[in-house]
């Protein structure tokens, strides 16, 4: 386990496995007015791992994930995805990177005016993936099969339950077969049973497609079940890093409050 205190700086880089680092965050700063949300945040994410970013509500977890996908621009620092800095990218290059990085929104963000089929088709069409209509149909059915909701293909999002909407959002994220999936609080607003199902689904998907997962959460059940490593975000900094077991044994007050 690695800890950051007043005097020490946490070791968050993976120098021993540089080729396996798919996402590298260097000294990231982000503020909104006088509110400093991210302060010198740095972290490496290794290919194939499931990394959970744990923090209190309003601690900047969602801001971090939106900086990673380029929805928010950092004030300072850099983010490299697959070795390429996204801050220096053109819009076209960023779109290409985004086709390889899936994002599951906290609110699912399904398009209300489109059917499930059209929701899943949208990223395929917009990223100009060169596939025939038959292949698109097969990809949609495959993604819906993966989340166990093939029968909802012609339904509208408003006709689905909260858990089903989350699964459809996950299917839409999966349709481009991303190498990294960013999950923004995937179990928020779901009942405990559905939450467990979604977590299991996330783990199944990671095993099946060998994706790298970055999960933003404060749901300890999700953290315990889905994490290979956990980052504790405190005051905008990467405060502690380790496995769930390591951090749950920590005597540090700021870490203990999450695992108590």
């Amino acid at each position: 386990m690695l800890m950051q205190t007043e005097e020490t700086e946490i070791q968050t880089t993976a120098n021993d496995q540089p080729g396996n680092v798919v996402l590298r965050i260097h000294h990231l700063y982000k503020s909104f007015g006088s509110n400093k949300v991210l302060v010198d945040f740095h972290l490496d994410v290794i290919r194939g791992e499931s990394l959970v970013v744990l923090g209190k509500s309003g601690s900047g977890k969602s801001v971090l994930i939106k900086c990673i996908i380029g929805l928010l621009e950092p004030d300072e620092g850099d983010i490299e995805i697959f070795g390429e800095s996204i801050s220096a990218m053109t819009a076209e290059a960023l779109d290409k990177i985004r086709a390889r990085v899936g994002f599951l929104f906290q609110s699912n963000a399904l398009y209300d005016s489109m059917t499930v089929r059209e929701n899943l088709e949208f990223p395929l069409r917009r990223h100009w993936i060169q596939v025939s209509q038959q292949e698109i149909n097969d990809m949609i059915l495959q993604a819906l099969d993966d989340v166990g909701l093939a029968h909802t293909i012609d339904m509208m999002p408003a006709e689905l339950s909260g858990g089903m909407r989350k699964r459809i959002a996950l299917a839409r994220t999966l349709i481009l077969k991303p190498e990294i999936i960013l999950y923004d609080e995937p179990t928020t607003g779901l009942d405990p049973i559905t939450s467990r199902e979604i977590i299991q689904l996330m783990m199944d998907i990671q095993d099946k497609y060998n994706t790298t997962s970055v999960i933003i959460s404060h749901d300890m059940n999700c953290v315990r079940t889905a994490s290979d490593r956990v980052v504790v975000l405190v005051d905008g900094r990467c405060y502690a890093l380790g496995t769930f077991e390591e951090l749950s044994r920590s005597q540090d007050e700021k870490v203990k409050q999450f695992f108590a």
Partner: protein, 256 residues
């Protein structure tokens, strides 16, 4: 300089809308063009507004004619009723009333739709799906509103004049041919053109204000309602301001 908070907020919003409008123009001229979405929006904004515009235009023509008749009879110029109503509808009442109905229906719908997409992260989802949401959502809607309102105004004017024809015949008897001859004999190019041109500006104002309010919606569902409401209020005020400017410009150019 000390500005009152209300004035400061008004100036800030005016600046934001000006920037938003500038962004609209810069995004409109750059490829790629979202033709499919533009055509879909023309259908939603134009075609689906036709029943409401048609109904209100028909009633407006009918009522205007019936209310004008007693005064025209008093002055002994009842025969001029089609000409007077025709000029009033084509020059002023048709474009303005149609634009206000349009602002109520389309301004609120765009404000609420984009506002709801904003607070449920659908706009962000579009961006990560390789789509420029401003082009896809804003440019298409503003262009569709700009081009569809003049078409609705032309159709609304025609329906309104038909309502007027029925109004003339409630207490009198005028043939369909004679009614239209009287209307068109008294209409000139300078009556039709300024009214047609200003309806493009009305449509643009409704589209840009609806999109601005929706795209910048905040504070959850309450913010969505506020966006829809303020889109209608602001675009209605802008319609009257544009109308005022249009009459000054046509006066100055001698198009009367």
């Amino acid at each position: 300089m000390n500005l009152s908070p209300n004035l400061k907020s008004f100036l800030n919003e005016a600046g934001d809308i000006a920037r938003f409008t500038g962004r609209f123009f810069s995004q409109t001229i750059r490829p790629r063009f979202e033709w499919n979405e533009f055509i879909r929006q023309c259908f939603v904004i134009g075609y689906l507004s036709l029943p409401l515009v048609g109904l209100t235009a028909f009633i407006m023509g009918l009522v205007l004619t019936m209310q004008l008749r007693p005064s025209m009879v008093d002055y002994g110029v009842e025969s001029q009723l089609p000409a007077i109503v025709g000029i009033a509808i084509v020059r002023e009442i048709g474009p303005v009333i149609t634009a206000l109905i349009f602002a109520g229906k389309i301004g609120s719908s765009i404000g609420a739709e984009l506002g709801s997409m904003k607070v449920t992260e659908q706009i962000d989802a579009m961006e990560v799906s390789g789509t420029n949401p401003f082009k896809y959502l804003v440019v298409t809607r503003v262009l569709a509103a700009t081009f569809m309102l003049p078409v609705l105004v032309l159709l609304g004017d025609s329906i309104s004049l038909y309502g007027s024809y029925l109004g003339v015949n409630v207490k009198g008897s005028t043939s369909f041919y004679l009614f239209w001859m009287q209307v068109f004999d008294n209409l000139s190019f300078s009556d039709v053109l300024p009214a047609f041109v200003k309806s493009f500006f009305f449509g643009f104002a409704v589209g840009i204000v609806g999109c601005y309010k929706g795209y910048n919606s905040m504070k959850g569902t309450e913010g969505v309602g506020r966006s829809a409401n303020s889109a209608v209020v602001l675009s209605s005020i802008l319609i009257f301001i544009i109308d005022l400017l249009a009459v000054q410009i046509t006066d100055a150019l001698g198009i009367n």
